[in-house]
């Protein structure tokens, strides 16, 4: 009962905060609302008994990625919001498509089937500790997607380095 109440709060807050993020005029304010948003997502993880995920969520997204966002925003010096008009004139069309997509997704929700539970119940995870369970699964069962993900990240990193170095030479 209590956990349902908390879920409702977190879900509601996440939606409201996301809207605040995209509607702020000042990019720094957006980033700060996003920080609060990431904390709420971490809170959801905590209610799923995934404390490791919650901590990683805050470290990686709030402590790492969002700080880099802030860097970009500050270095571009967008203190006063650029008063450009609308980018496109496709506003109504875009809205119609978004609405259609929303309706389609909400209709498909009824046919949602939960995946079969694996052998890791909450009790087993508590007994084995999160990191051990996670590490075992990542390096045995899910080694292929894990390696693919790391390869993609490596490609992105090398790409960034190449771009930076090219600018240095010219």
């Amino acid at each position: 009962m209590v956990s349902i109440g908390f879920f409702i709060y977190f879900a509601f807050a996440i939606v409201v905060l996301s809207l605040l993020v995209v509607t702020r005029k000042n990019p720094v304010h957006s980033v700060l609302w996003m920080l609060l948003l990431f904390f709420h997502i971490a809170g959801l993880y905590l209610f799923l008994n995934a404390e490791f995920m919650a901590a990683i969520q805050v470290i990686v997204y709030a402590g790492g990625i969002l700080v880099l966002f802030l860097f970009v925003v500050l270095l571009m010096n967008l203190r006063e919001e650029l008063s450009i008009g609308k980018y496109t004139t496709f506003g109504p069309t875009g809205f119609t498509f978004a609405l259609g997509l929303f309706v389609a997704v909400s209709m498909s929700l009824s046919s949602f089937i939960a995946a079969p539970p694996g052998k890791y119940s909450i009790d087993l995870i508590k007994q084995e500790t999160h990191i051990k369970a996670l590490g075992k699964l990542l390096y045995t069962e899910f080694i292929y997607p894990f390696e693919v993900a790391s390869l993609i990240l490596l490609v992105a990193m090398i790409g960034a380095i190449v771009l930076a170095k090219r600018r240095l030479k010219s």
Binding site: E51, A54, A55, G63, V67
Partner: protein, 352 residues
């Protein structure tokens, strides 16, 4: 209908138990905060005394015997100063920046085990929690520099956040070796595993990680020789240039609490926390009667003295040199340490 019929006795018991638990936690919070703030006050006093004596001066002498009441005088002075907000500042962000900075530092005190059974929140991911909150502290620095709408504060904020996020990586990697040896992220478990190990403290087998950690800890807390965000000769006072009165005091408190925290983390992960190595206890068996918190606090003080010592000894680094040390030396060394620790662990498993 009377109340006894509505609420069953078991519920009442559960509620009373819950109430007692909450009261104990609140009491612990009060104790930790009070002692922590007192430590902050006297950390500033000892900093001035230690540096004074190292520079053949006396340090504060006027307020009270040997200047012992100086911290209170400073606090009262800060409290009664005028609170100035720059006209062009982003007011809301300007207000919340020091609060974020101090809260992120203070909340970390809740997972620090000061003694075998004294910790406010004994959580399984204690170490990660500290990293997470250290990451949040960056926002306080960053947005205070931005919201002040001053060039010096802005440059200080940029430098400081670049510094903190770079050295956070090195610090996190240097502690992975400790996690691997202890097999846990729970800070109390790390200390227990350490007390039972052969060396008694991880500073000996993990000496590479220890060195990396100490350098990164100094950089994380923006202390000399890595206090580039506050380089007076270049940036006035850095990110809090525009802050005055109590808002400045909040930054000041946050910085010293962060120092206490880094010293505690070093004590927990490398110096054995509240335990003493077994060989010391073998030679001096009577030392086992001393409560563990004494050893914890002594180790923390030793680390604090180290902070002051290098502040009085080493000149400030240049910014590019400083970033180069972090990215080109500390991070590769820390990654090498992880590999080495893993290899040794596997080999020992094969042999034994």
């Amino acid at each position: 209908m009377n109340m006894a019929n509505v609420i069953s006795p078991s519920t009442v018991d559960a509620l009373i138990k819950f109430g007692i638990d909450v009261a104990i936690i609140l009491l612990k919070i009060v104790i930790v905060l009070a002692i922590g703030l007192l430590h902050v006050a006297y950390a500033t006093y000892f900093e001035r005394k230690v540096i004074g004596h190292m520079q053949v001066r006396l340090g504060p002498m006027r307020v009270g015997p040997h200047g012992l009441l100086q911290p209170f005088a400073d606090g009262i002075k800060l409290f009664f100063k005028e609170d100035i907000i720059p006209a062009q500042a982003d007011k809301v962000v300007f207000y919340i920046a020091p609060i974020i900075f101090m809260a992120a530092a203070m909340v970390n005190l809740s997972v620090i085990p000061f003694d075998a059974n004294f910790v406010i929140a004994d959580i399984n991911v204690g170490l990660l929690f500290i990293f997470a909150m250290a990451g949040i502290g960056v926002y306080g620095i960053f947005i205070s520099g931005w919201a002040s709408n001053s060039k010096y504060a802005f440059m200080g904020g940029l430098r400081s956040s670049a510094q903190v996020i770079s050295y956070e990586i090195a610090m996190g990697l240097s502690l992975v070796g400790v996690m691997m040896m202890a097999g846990s992220l729970n800070l109390s478990d790390i200390i227990r595993a350490q007390g039972e190990s052969i060396f008694g403290m991880y500073a000996i087998p993990q000496f590479i990680g220890f060195i990396v950690f100490v350098i990164a800890a100094v950089a994380e807390t923006n202390r000399t020789p890595f206090d580039l965000p506050e380089a007076e000769s270049e940036l006035v006072a850095g990110y809090f240039t525009e802050y005055s009165s109590f808002r400045f005091a909040l930054f000041f408190l946050g910085e010293y609490i962060a120092m206490i925290l880094m010293a505690s983390l070093c004590t927990i992960c490398f110096l054995g926390g509240w335990t003493l190595p077994w060989y010391v206890l073998k030679i001096f068996p009577f030392l086992s009667y001393v409560p563990g918190v004494v050893w914890f606090v002594l180790k923390v003080y030793a680390f604090f003295f180290f902070y002051y010592w290098i502040r009085a000894t080493v000149p400030r680094y240049r910014y590019d040199q400083f970033m180069a040390i972090g990215w080109k030396i500390l991070i590769p060394v820390a990654i090498g340490n992880i590999l080495l620790t893993g290899l040794v662990k596997i080999i020992l498993k094969e042999v034994l």
